[in-house]
Subunit: 305 residues, 2 copies
DNA sequence: AGAATAGTGTCTTTGAGACAATATGCG
DNA sequence: CGCATATTGTCTCAAAGACACTATTCT
């Protein structure tokens, strides 16, 4: 309406000499999830230098200005940390999660981070790329995450013991007051009580909630599996991501009843379940992009209220 | 792990002298939606200068480095264009939509735009803020959007005649090429067929799809209404956003059956529908943040396949 | 043999949607 | 009066979930 105000003046200048105006750095950070030994794992790197030296952080880095899109930058960073080539990356689901831009989230300067969420089939051990001191897959159930975004936080679990099934109860987590996660990030690796650098714990929490919601109404759970899989493999994905056991029979029927979710390869798996049982039939991902009707989380309505 | 590679070198420098490295500008753009006369409208501004001078664009601007978060920047930009004060802004729902960072999306330089989605009750006419030549609310049904993200594009509608119900058919819209719709208000808006500057048509399409999906499983449709409203008012929101008529009786029962969606104010509206009928009871938004069970779009499964 | 798993059948309950019916208030 | 709307009732069908059952294969 009226004449230029100071803000506009600066914007005007910025268009012609951006370096004089916009000291905001843009990075991408990736919340990469995979299944290892039946448990959901998150890719994290050890920070090699300050700030937060020694703390866990998400793999990520600066977007190369004028060179790449955000999606490309995320794929590049993920590849650097996992050693994946372009072919293997093609089997990974990568989607944008959200952007984080609090002015003080990085003590050095104003950094806007565009977070991505990745679902990958079982991947090899992580290899530290960039200036990270190390990279590793952390079991999600061991994470201490601040400010759970919604209502599906990882429940307290016993350390060390991984029976392949669940340690937790039915899922209506008690608030668990003694379960604090202060900034006391230990720099040694044995103790898995990972506090994250920056606001990465919030990004991880948001990513986990997105993952839990996304497999409800999309077939993306198959992105955690190989080309062919059994219905039980698929059920294991849902159980690992949701952290709750599912009824095998009903799940089986449900998956087959949703059009386009999976399609049969007429084959049958050679190795039955490690504890006996008939050989399961093999399926591959179908062509649906959305599940109708959706596969809703058990008891989720109660958790949300 | 190993020695620094060139990329790392640049990142390292960037941390200490960002101006030497990161010529990426960060902006926010807002997809602001409201209901006017029963139809969904989008807030747009006329660009005052190149590039894309004279074209419609989303309200937005640069994030003030070190001064504000992304959310704050979006709220500020929205307020500038709508003349809303802080109080009125409190009644507006504002959420992050996604970030857009193709290197060539702005011809001047690499600009990463963080898009926001806003739901607002009926607002006054837009007032051009910043360096815009004008601002206006455009009927969403008149927009020509490239690359519809999904399967719920606006259908053709008859202009002028707004009977309060629908002109369209059952929802499987024919493309309807010659369908123009002048916003016919302040800023020389005779020529419609709005093509947007930059990639803003894609952002708008993504925002619309997000809005259509979001009111399925959240009570955010109430954000388009005043403090109190009737069930019919609420139904009008769903019909405007989804672009399809809903069965009044079933909708009524459904809304009341979802816990926490609306709560009754014991009152009754004084003005019945303009064409007669009993006075409807008034409700206000309930305390639920998610709807269980959800209010699914009719026929959406078929549209998605 | 005993145990665990794959896959199917059955039954109950909930919810979505089609349709009908009644009451209210405007023109 | 005639019509549109608000609200409630009824009926049918799809789907989720609990439970049971059979067949298969490992230890």
């Amino acid at each position: 309406m009226d004449g230029r105000r100071p803000d506009d003046e600066r914007e005007f200048l910025a268009a012609y000499d951006p370096r004089a105006f916009a000291p905001i750095a843009v990075t991408v950070d990736v919340v990469a999830l995979t299944l290892r030994g039946g448990a959901l794992h998150l890719l994290a790197v050890r920070r090699g230098g300050p700030p937060f030296a020694g703390a866990w952080a998400l793999p990520g880095g600066f977007v190369q200005a004028g060179q790449e899109s955000l999606d490309e930058a995320a794929a590049r960073e993920l590849a650097e940390e996992t050693g994946l080539d372009a072919g293997a990356l093609g089997r990974v689901h990568l989607e944008q999660l959200g952007s984080y831009g609090q002015p003080d989230r990085d003590p050095r300067m104003h950094v806007v981070s565009v977070a991505y969420l990745a679902f990958a089939p079982h991947l090899p051990d992580a290899t530290a790329g960039g200036d990270a001191a190390g990279a590793d897959w952390l079991p999600v159930e061991s994470l201490h995450l601040a400010g759970q975004p919604d209502a599906a936080p990882p429940r307290p679990i016993e350390q060390g013991r991984r029976t392949g099934t669940y340690g937790g109860g039915t899922g209506r987590r008690p608030p668990s007051p003694g379960d604090s996660a202060p900034g006391a990030s230990s720099a040694s690796a044995e103790a898995p009580a990972p506090d994250f650098a920056f606001d990465h714990d919030r990004i991880v929490a948001d990513g986990l909630e997105r993952a839990r919601a996304k497999i409800e109404y999309t077939p993306l759970a198959t992105a955690f599996l190989d080309e062919t899989f059994t219905i039980s493999d698929l059920r294991a994905v849902y159980e690992a991501v949701w952290g709750a056991p599912l009824h095998a029979g009903n799940f089986h029927r449900k998956v087959l009843s949703v059009p386009g979710f999976v399609e049969s390869t007429g084959e049958t798996g050679s190795r039955p379940g490690s504890r006996g049982g008939p050989r399961a039939r093999l399926y591959r991902a179908g062509d649906a992009r959305q599940l109708h009707p959706a596969l809703l989380r058990p008891d989720h309505e109660a958790a949300v209220r």
